[in-house]
């Protein structure tokens, strides 16, 4: 499969070392309880579940499973805390959030290691992207707390109340930061639930919040699976639901909150189009394709999972892409050299494998670089599907894994039509050196984020969120404040 005979000898003779990040400075308890009203408390029903390291199937810790009873206690704590927290001056609130940001930075490496242990993502990403971005997110919103009147002049912005926040497993801590930072800065109190496969960093965050001296009950972090999430969504005294996750669950939540007073923001799935024109900086475009679909094993709602290459450069791009894939290193998430880590869970691995089987059955041509995958744990080689068409299931549905569907196009209208021909509308990428083409595309692509000559970039100041079935509301930037405020 390896076209470049040279690469094999290189890999045999000149190896990168195993450079595992040290775990000696990391403290993980054997068991984690629920963080409610400023204390770690046992779940009412006394149930716990294991959290597993997806790269070797080993159990890392036992984590409490919150039931409706625990959710109720947490919501009550948040409700009780809301009055004084929302009456605290913006200046003081902001200082708490700043303090959390700083504590975060101090312990950044520890959080990075745990994130990679629990979720399987490469340490290079958790260390260089997830954790710094999370800390910066707290920094950014901390500064807004006493400036809301300038963000919304003459509108008398007020916090909504108790926010129920449900976050996914792909960027556990970063998503926690995206949810918590604006909610706290605007004076809301929170009940947050991390995903059941990746609860650890949120629980470490609870420890950090406890250390920060944040008033009791302002942030409550409870763990559990879908049922726990449903209890939050359905709790009558929750005023706001912020959810990031699959479109299916998002629809369920929208339906479940129908007819209630709850305000809702949804950040859901995507099937991002990544479009390469013939005049693109091909090499950066190839790198962009890699970033778009293999970043975080493709467990990214805004992944560029549909690639559109202009016909005149398709062969070149695909050849370069395959060549580039040869040098991707797949393996131990804690190894600093690792480019692609473990698939987050057995279940997700099965989902992806199922899509690959569908792709093959539909007659698409598959390409996977030869790579040795570890025996234990959840692993999948980066995968391309060539010669696919719009009607293929692997083109239409979100796979949420390192699987790229490649199509070619001839004209600009054709590619815009194809790119928009999806119920999703989260992200898109455009690669061209022609300015007018960039603006034409950004104006015509139905997506909340358009990356031109780059992909998968994030920043606390930059609003993020979807069109159509990718959800509504924005996170990040000034726009990210709105979902946590009501106006008179």
């Amino acid at each position: 499969m390896r076209n470049h005979d040279t690469d094999t000898t290189f890999k045999a003779s000149w190896k990168y070392s195993e450079a595992p990040e040290s775990t000696s400075h990391v403290q993980i308890k054997k068991q984690y309880d629920l963080y409610i009203d400023g204390n770690f408390v046992k779940p009412v029903k006394g149930k716990y579940f294991d959290t597993i390291n997806p790269s070797n199937d080993q159990k890392i810790a036992r984590v409490a499973e919150a039931t409706a009873e625990d959710v109720d206690i947490a919501v009550k704590a948040a409700r009780k805390a809301f009055k004084s927290w929302s009456n605290l001056s913006g200046r003081e609130r902001g200082k708490y959030v700043f303090r959390i940001a700083r504590l975060f930075q101090e312990r950044a490496r520890e959080f990075a290691v745990i994130e990679s242990l629990d979720g399987g993502k490469p340490i290079r990403e958790s260390r260089d992207i997830d954790i710094p971005l999370a800390a910066n997110h707290f920094f950014y919103y901390a500064g807004w707390a006493d400036k809301l009147l300038y963000a919304f002049p003459n509108r008398n912005p007020k916090p909504i109340g108790v926010a129920g926040q449900i976050i996914p497993w792909n960027f556990p801590l970063l998503m926690a930061a995206w949810k918590l930072a604006p909610a706290l800065a605007t004076g809301n109190t929170v009940v947050l639930k991390p995903a059941e496969t990746t609860p650890l960093t949120a629980l470490k965050l609870a420890e950090l919040i406890q250390q920060s001296g944040l008033p009791k009950g302002v942030v409550n972090i409870i763990t559990g699976a879908g049922e726990t999430g449903a209890s939050i969504v359905n709790h009558p005294d929750v005023d706001k639901i912020a959810f990031t996750g699959s479109t299916a669950v998002g629809k369920y939540i929208q339906k479940a909150t129908a007819g209630t007073h709850k305000k809702l923001t949804l950040e859901l799935g995507g099937k991002g189009a990544n479009i390469i024109f013939e005049d693109a900086a091909i090499d950066q475009a190839v790198e962009g394709i890699i970033d778009a679909i293999f970043f975080n094993q493709g467990h990214v709602c805004c992944a560029g999972s549909r690639l559109f290459v202009q016909e005149s450069v398709a062969d070149l791009v695909i050849r370069k892409l395959k060549h580039r894939m040869e040098s991707l290193i797949i393996g131990d998430p804690l190894d600093k050299n690792t480019d692609i880590g473990a698939i987050n869970s057995k279940k997700q691995l099965e989902t992806i494998q199922n899509y690959i089987a569908i792709g093959l059955k539909e007659g698409a041509e598959i390409y996977q670089p030869k790579c040795e995958l570890p025996k234990k744990g959840n692993w999948l080689a980066p995968t391309l599907f060539l010669n696919v068409s719009q009607s293929h299931k692997i083109v239409q549905e979100e796979i949420f894994g390192p699987v790229l569907a490649i199509q070619t196009f001839r004209t600009i209208d054709e590619v815009i039509e194809k790119a928009n021909n999806t119920p999703y509308g989260l992200s898109a990428g455009v690669w061209t050196q022609k300015g007018s083409r960039i603006f034409h595309l950004t104006q015509n692509l139905n997506a909340g984020v358009v990356w031109a000559n780059t992909f998968n970039k994030f920043d606390p100041t930059s609003p993020f969120g979807g069109y159509k079935e990718s959800g509504f509301g924005r996170e990040g930037g000034l726009h990210g404040l709105k979902p946590y405020l009501k106006f008179e």
């Binding site: 129908a258 920043d459 930059s462 726009h479």
Partner: protein, 286 residues
């Protein structure tokens, strides 16, 4: 000798045309004394479906029209309405308004159109941002229309209510399908004539008359509608709309107020509610 009045046939307004409902059904509108004023179309889900097709077809070119142009078209609507002021006042009176209220409603409607005409090239500047990202990229966010919007117009003010929800929607580049006030639908159809004579491209505003009970569920569930605006305070309706909207993650906007006279009933935030925010990134190093 008394001359016999020519009575108007009130039809639907779909895609810039005035068709009768495909079903041939109608419902009567009577004056206070119980005398028939007009027979009004009882639009069906098929009429609604046709209107969505017309709206979808019109939306992107409407959105692409320059902000200046859209503003001028909205202003043109105001001009046309001003010219036919007396007709609208009379029509409101026939439907039961006092003379004073009818005059006020028409004037406010005209002013509201002018108000939103002025926003056409300004709201973008209010809701956009250049975001100072930490990496070497230029990054900006700007509003874009949500797309096709179905609207259930306010019940009480047949003209002002409709104008108040329609204007911010279309000035923001959306195309709409509006279900007129069930009890006071006449101004809505007369207003369609104003629209039709004021350069609003066909399909940008589609107006139906009919029963909420029959149409709301389709307006909320149609998969090619991006957002739904419901004016009213029937909590059953609100719940049903929210539930059905979830089938395609439709944006839902509920306005519970009855009276759309006050100045708080106009603001750029009515425009903002039917906008998406798009963020664009580009590297800055050469």
């Amino acid at each position: 000798m008394n001359r016999l009045d020519i009575q108007k046939t009130y039809k639907l307004y779909i895609g810039g045309k005035f068709p009768r409902t495909e079903s041939g059904r109608y419902y009567p509108i009577n004056n206070r004394k119980g005398n028939l004023i007009a027979n009004v179309c009882l639009a069906t889900r098929k009429d609604f479906r046709n209107a969505v097709v017309a709206a979808r077809k019109a939306q992107s070119s409407w959105a692409k029209m320059s902000a200046l142009n859209k503003g001028q078209i909205l202003y043109r609507i105001a001009e046309m309405l001003e010219g036919r002021k007396e007709q609208f006042i009379a029509e409101l009176i026939v439907q039961g308004e006092t003379t004073k209220n009818a005059r006020a409603e028409v004037s406010t409607s005209i002013d509201r159109l002018v108000y939103y005409a002025g926003w056409s090239d300004k709201y973008q500047q209010i809701f956009s941002a250049v975001n100072p990202v930490a990496s070497p990229h230029f990054n900006f966010s700007n509003p874009e229309p949500v797309g096709v919007v179905s609207m259930i117009a306010p019940e009480k003010q047949g003209l002002l209510g409709l104008v108040s929800v329609m204007a911010p929607a279309i000035v923001g580049g959306n195309a709409t399908i509006i279900l007129a006030s069930e009890t006071k639908p006449l101004s809505a159809i007369s207003f369609a004539e104003v629209l039709n004579s004021s350069d609003v491209p066909g399909g940008v505003v589609n107006i139906l008359t009919g029963k909420k009970e029959e149409l709301i569920s389709h307006m909320a569930s149609h998969m090619d509608v991006n957002a739904i605006v419901y004016c009213g305070n029937d909590e059953k309706h609100i719940k049903m709309i929210s539930e059905l909207a979830s089938t395609n993650v439709k944006r839902t906007i509920f306005y519970r107020r009855n009276d759309w006279t006050h100045v708080e009933c106009e603001s750029p935030y009515f425009i903002e509610k039917l906008q998406e925010i798009k963020t664009t990134w580009h590297p800055v190093l050469v």
